[in-house]
Amino acid sequence: MRRRMFARVLVGSLRKRASRTLIAVLAVLLGASLITALFTLSRGVESQAGRELRRYGANLVITAPAARVTTGIGNLEFGFVEAEAQLPDSIKGRLSSAVAQGEIEDFSAFLEGTVYADGRAVAVTGAEFDRLSVLRPWWKVEGAWAPKEADPQASSQAPALVGVATARILGLSAGNSLELRSDDRSISLLITGVVEAGGADDKRVFVPLDSAQALLSTKGISRIEVSVLASKGSIEGIAARLGDLIPEGEVRVVGQVAEAEARVLGKVKLLLGLVAGLVLIAAGLTIASTMTASVMERSREIGLMKALGAGNRSIAGFFMGEAATGAMLGGMGGYAMGTVLALVIGRVAFESTLPASALALPVTLVSALAVSLIASLFPVRTALRIDPARTLKGE
């Protein structure tokens, strides 16, 4: 019965001051949404990068050094741009020798470019199809990785895997035919599956490497992903040796790529954290000021409660209860809004669909509660100092 009475007073008080309650809840919601977004982003992006590192197996990436192309008109120079360069196909032979000697575990070549389907520009990646399922085990494929041997179409058409975003735009599904065109070539493919990769790969079409080379009129390769065993020596040492073997390419440790991404993520986290911190402080100040105004407005009510025998714990309990209720409401709303915010930031900044983090909810709620209760300390202190004799007299 005591709890029911407590709840009754709490709810009645919050409803009586609905607009002030709403302001406090909105302030908490804003801060809580940023906390959720920050938490979800950092865990999601880190886990995705970690997943790629752990499951990828590839430790090294070989790319062609970017070519600098000078731009200008006549005697006017506008500076230079970096143009994509390619590695020669002959590198594969040298890497195969390295595999045979046990220097590296395995490698796979990729070629990237832009072609057209139904008049729309489409990003295409040529890959060694037989290795894709090993290199990308986290992909969800609706359909099959490769055509069934018994499929009569399989012999006449090269296979293709289409990223889920591109499939949606072009209205494609497994079993459809897809014609890709470049400036002077075209090729007909059989879509064996639609891929949900959870990143930029969702917007690509994957075709066999030789099909891509034919379409793009090149024998070159955009990059080669290499797996090495750590027991063979330090990754950096192996990377240096490969660099000597393939002087026309740049050999980088994948960790460096991840480190670069981690630096970007770290900066985004720092920025979000600063903003979240400032917004939480602002939320705290808003709560403190609305609650102080509430205490002033309710001084007679507080004086009455004291006259009826309410001790400090009871008075403090009511106000802290109001603060906690506002924190929970704002925290839950902030969690929902922050999850959407993380989804949007993930798509825009990282081309990644980040899942909602269940752990973000308790973190957000605890943060919201802490800010609200701390912000309530001063108004509660004021309430406890109210003199019932004076306030009941109307002073």
């Binding site: 019965m1 005591r2 029911r4 009475m5 407590f6 009754r8 007073v9 009645g12 008080s13 409803r15 009586k16 007679r300 009510e301 009455l304 409660m305 004291k306 006259a307 009826l308 025998g309 309410a310 001790g311 400090n312 009871s314 019932p388 004799a389 009941l392 007299k393 109307g394």
Partner: protein
């Protein structure tokens, strides 16, 4: 001395001095017997409310001793004073002071909440005693002034206080509701409750066993009530329109 005549309240050399040296009460001594109805009267600024606040443990004396039911309240700290107040004292205010978002029943239960455990049945019974059995779920804004004062009286009595204090309980009531409220006080007095009522109204004062007149913080006059049958006094009050 029987229990009814035994002193419930003993005040000795009570003074209350506010900041700036204002002497609201100056060396006041008095006793209130159990079951007695004491009226305190006097002009504004005479110290009536200050005396009532000290008796109600809402304030502490600057000097002197205040013994209520054997306990010297002057020596109690704030927490102890609060505990004592909710056990021993019931308060009725001129302005009713009901919580606006709680119903009549909930306002009475709130006093129980601070005392021990809210008991809806007990609170309902208290409101029925004051004639508000049909208005339990009404908010204060839905009650007349007289009904609000009756809720206030029910609230003041719910925890079985030994001392009932009322500060101008009929000051905001029309004559009809004043009569109803005074009848309630008379009933309580007959039941043996100890009442101390601050009032401006001589007619209300005449209902008491004893009237204390204060002036500039001191007891100016004390008189035993020698009026006729109380029913006549109450009727006379209602006929003053």
């Amino acid at each position: 001395m029987n229990e009814r005549n035994e002193a419930l309240v003993e005040i000795r050399n009570l003074s209350r001095v506010y900041q700036g040296g204002v002497r609201a009460l100056d060396d006041v001594s008095l006793e209130v017997a159990r079951g007695e109805w004491l009226a305190i009267m006097g002009p504004s600024g005479s110290g009536k409310s200050t005396l009532l606040n000290i008796l109600g443990c809402l304030d502490q004396p600057t000097e002197g001793q205040v013994v209520i039911d054997g306990v010297d309240t002057a020596g109690l700290n704030a927490n102890a004073l609060t505990r004592f107040r909710r056990e021993v004292v019931g308060l009725v205010f001129q302005q009713f002071h009901l919580i606006p978002y709680l119903s009549a029943l909930e306002n009475v239960m709130l006093a129980q909440y601070f005392h021990s455990v809210p008991d809806e049945a007990e609170a309902r019974e208290a409101l029925e005693r004051v004639g508000l059995g049909e208005r339990l779920r009404h908010l204060p804004a839905q009650l007349s002034g007289g009904e609000q004062q009756r809720v206030c009286i029910a609230r003041a009595l719910i925890n079985g206080p030994r001392l009932l204090l009322a500060d101008e309980p009929t000051g905001n009531l029309d004559l009809l509701n004043e009569q109803i409220a005074l009848e309630l006080f008379r009933g309580l007095h007959r039941e043996g409750h100890t009442l101390i009522v601050v009032t401006h109204d001589p007619g209300v004062g005449e209902l008491a066993d004893r009237v204390l007149h204060l002036d500039h913080g001191r007891i100016a006059k004390e008189e035993m009530c020698s009026c006729g049958p109380r029913e006549e006094t109450v009727a006379a009050l209602s006929g003053r329109a």
